[in-house]
Symmetry: C2
Subunit: 417 residues, 2 copies
């Protein structure tokens, strides 16, 4: 397919009519005032859609945003990093609602027109005493910008802001689509500790938008894994304000398909950006399963391979260890026959019919040493396929995740615990 989009500068601020702002209020640590509170606002009414973590332990802002989306559409999103407001009980719900109120009031919105998102440490109360005084500055700061500050303010252990925007023709109108994400840890299929905000000036009816979002999430964020953990806070929120001037797209019409393709492409790129910026990640590995009897079999195989600690360790070592890949294929619970399985590294056969192929080992090691490569697993049993994007697991990942005691110490200083 010819690339039908034009990349444009910025992220959530790129589409017409979206204003953004971000401030630093020292949520994680009052002495370090990095950006940690962000606001996105549309100056015209929107339709909106979203998907949320399937974890049964849901953070307070997830519950609040879900309720707001059920009521109608969002026109603003307020988000913070540094504290996830998860496992915080009734107080957490109060705090999430207070955050929505604090921006809805001055913007003359109903509380339910505001989405709320938090990301950071779990189980500590929100330091509202530091957050609340920052809202006037946050709202006053709204302006036409490309949105980079928002991408920055939602970062936790991310090493760089991740945003992207495109423009494309839709029925004779030039439409813009922009987005930003944060990821880094707890990245797993069926959503991750990841936040994704997407804005567009296309005019998309709410039901068509929701359908497009579900479909695009299934093919992007649900196909990435870093450490196999699934967060309490995962949220994707999309707002469409129609400011391109186009008439609303018709559900299932050709323009609807075009919009869905654009959304799918954008989310796919943002999802891959999350893997590339995973905690202490050194490799980006595409696992491409083919020839499965069913879609579900293909998916089981891809997930087992992408979640295996041993396979991920070998990626970290640049070792083309097809035996470990095959053993994960075997325990995936998919219907496979060992003697039919082929495994290739960037097209070079490592294993054919379940046995070592005769590609010279140095050539395979060359591939596995690359920062990005594809492992193709052909089960040779049918026509179903499934792709996933994954990373290695590094000693540094574990070092990095050994302790969150510093957060607790700060919460104690704040008198919250």
């Amino acid at each position: 397919m010819e690339f039908p989009f034009t990349r444009i500068k910025g992220g959530v601020g790129a589409p017409r009519g979206f204003l953004t702002s971000a401030v630093g209020c020292g949520i994680k640590n009052p002495e370090v005032k990095r950006l940690d509170l962000a606001l996105i606002y549309s100056d015209a009414p929107c339709t909106s859609a979203g998907t949320f973590t399937t974890n049964r332990v849901k953070a307070a802002p997830v519950r609040v945003s879900q309720a707001h989306l059920r009521k109608g559409s969002l026109r603003a999103i307020v988000a913070n990093s540094g504290n996830a407001n998860a496992c915080t009980g009734v107080q957490g719900i109060h705090d999430a609602k207070a955050m929505a109120d604090a921006v809805a009031g001055p913007l003359d919105l109903n509380r339910s027109e505001t989405g709320v998102c938090s990301t950071g440490v779990i189980g500590l109360p929100m330091p509202m005493a530091r957050i609340e005084p920052a809202f006037p500055e946050l709202v006053a700061g709204l302006g036409r910008r490309n949105g980079g500050a928002v991408a920055q303010a939602i970062m936790t252990s991310d090493t760089r802001p991740k945003e992207l925007a495109i423009s494309f023709e839709l029925g004779g109108y030039r439409v813009r689509l922009g987005g930003c994400v944060k990821g880094a840890g707890m990245i797993s299929p069926s959503m991750a500790t990841m936040l994704c905000f997407i804005t567009t000036d296309a005019a998309v009816p709410k039901d068509a938008l929701q359908k497009a979002v579900l479909e695009a999430v299934e093919e992007s964020f649900n196909r990435i894994t870093i450490d196999g953990d699934m967060s309490t806070n995962d949220t994707v929120l999309v707002m469409a304000n129609g400011k391109s001037g186009m008439p609303p797209i018709r559900r299932n019409g050709p323009r609807c398909r075009q919009f869905r393709n654009a959304l799918r492409w954008l989310m796919g790129e943002l999802a891959k950006a999350i893997v590339r910026d995973g905690e202490r990640v050194t490799k980006f590995v595409t696992v491409d399963v083919r020839g499965a009897r069913t879609y579900l079999d293909a998916k089981k195989v891809a997930e087992a391979v992408c979640k295996s600690a041993l396979v991920k360790s070998s990626w970290n070592g640049g070792d083309p260890n097809w035996g470990r890949v095959l053993h994960a294929v075997g325990y995936s619970r998919a219907r496979i026959r060992e003697e039919l399985v082929d495994i290739r590294y960037d097209g070079l056969p490592a294993c054919l019919g379940g046995l070592q192929a005769d590609t010279p080992m140095p050539k395979l090691r060359e591939v596995a040493a690359r920062p990005e490569f594809t492992i193709e697993i052909d089960l040779n049993q049918g026509k179903a396929d499934y792709q996933m994007y994954s990373s290695d697991l590094s000693p540094e990942y574990i070092d990095f995740n050994r302790s969150e005691y510093a957060y607790w110490k700060q919460a104690r200083k704040d008198g919250l615990v």
Copy 2:
């Protein structure tokens, strides 16, 4: 329950009538002649039973031993470390059969009376040229010993041999039960890269023995996890030769229950020994789930917690991070209600009703700093429970598992690849 057994010296060689032997033939590396080939033999006919990996990719010796057990009972077990003989196709089956033949011949057994086990690297052919010449010495070396050399010869990345033997009264007869295991990596529920051999001089009919083994494996080896990977070679083999002189126990009689209790206890201890000797492990953590609506819910919660890379990283750091435990409980797919969950570390509440409890953090950190502790997760929804034994995940584990290239280089030197 009063401890009804007496610990005795040794392992698989402790019961009457079992002879053992082990030699070093340099399977992994011809220059390092550590013990790597072992033999267990009963001088009287046995009943026997076994369980095998549920991985669909099964090593050749697993397929061969399964077939032998289906035909009748084993009287000898030959096992090697250094090469798993997995993903080796038809040649692998030939090699496994050749190993059985090589001991069955001189011992005057049918081939199908010999179990075969291999553990080590996957996907490289067996260096039979080094193994075959060692068989005469292996068989000639059979003798009454406690079995420590067998426990040593099956080690791969294990740091110490793991064996245990007990004696106890069974209907007026003194019976002995001995066993050894190897574990270390790829340890996961539903079996692990683990081999376990158990011998007894009790007289147990084959069907009763098989039932006892299945039950004991379910409560021991299926409840441990180190890295969540499941191997191609897992095997538990049990031989009973009746040399205690007792009359055969009756199925479901009181002596059968006593024997089952003893087997369960022995396998439980051996399973825990595997976790304690896991690859680069620094903590032994018991996860005790209670108050679940069903057994399956309790099991899902225990497995999710024990497999979470983030939870395991926090154990490595001695961090009593109940938020990460709760988030894994949430994504376990068990039916849980966040606001009902209590989490305790060695009895000290860290989380009550889904919220931080008021136990002072230093006290919780004291517990999490211990080399062994129990995390009790009470779902407060029912009466089902499930226990698992797990370990931390260390940066050193990943370092250790980054590359198996050295194995491949040796296989190349051997002209096998």
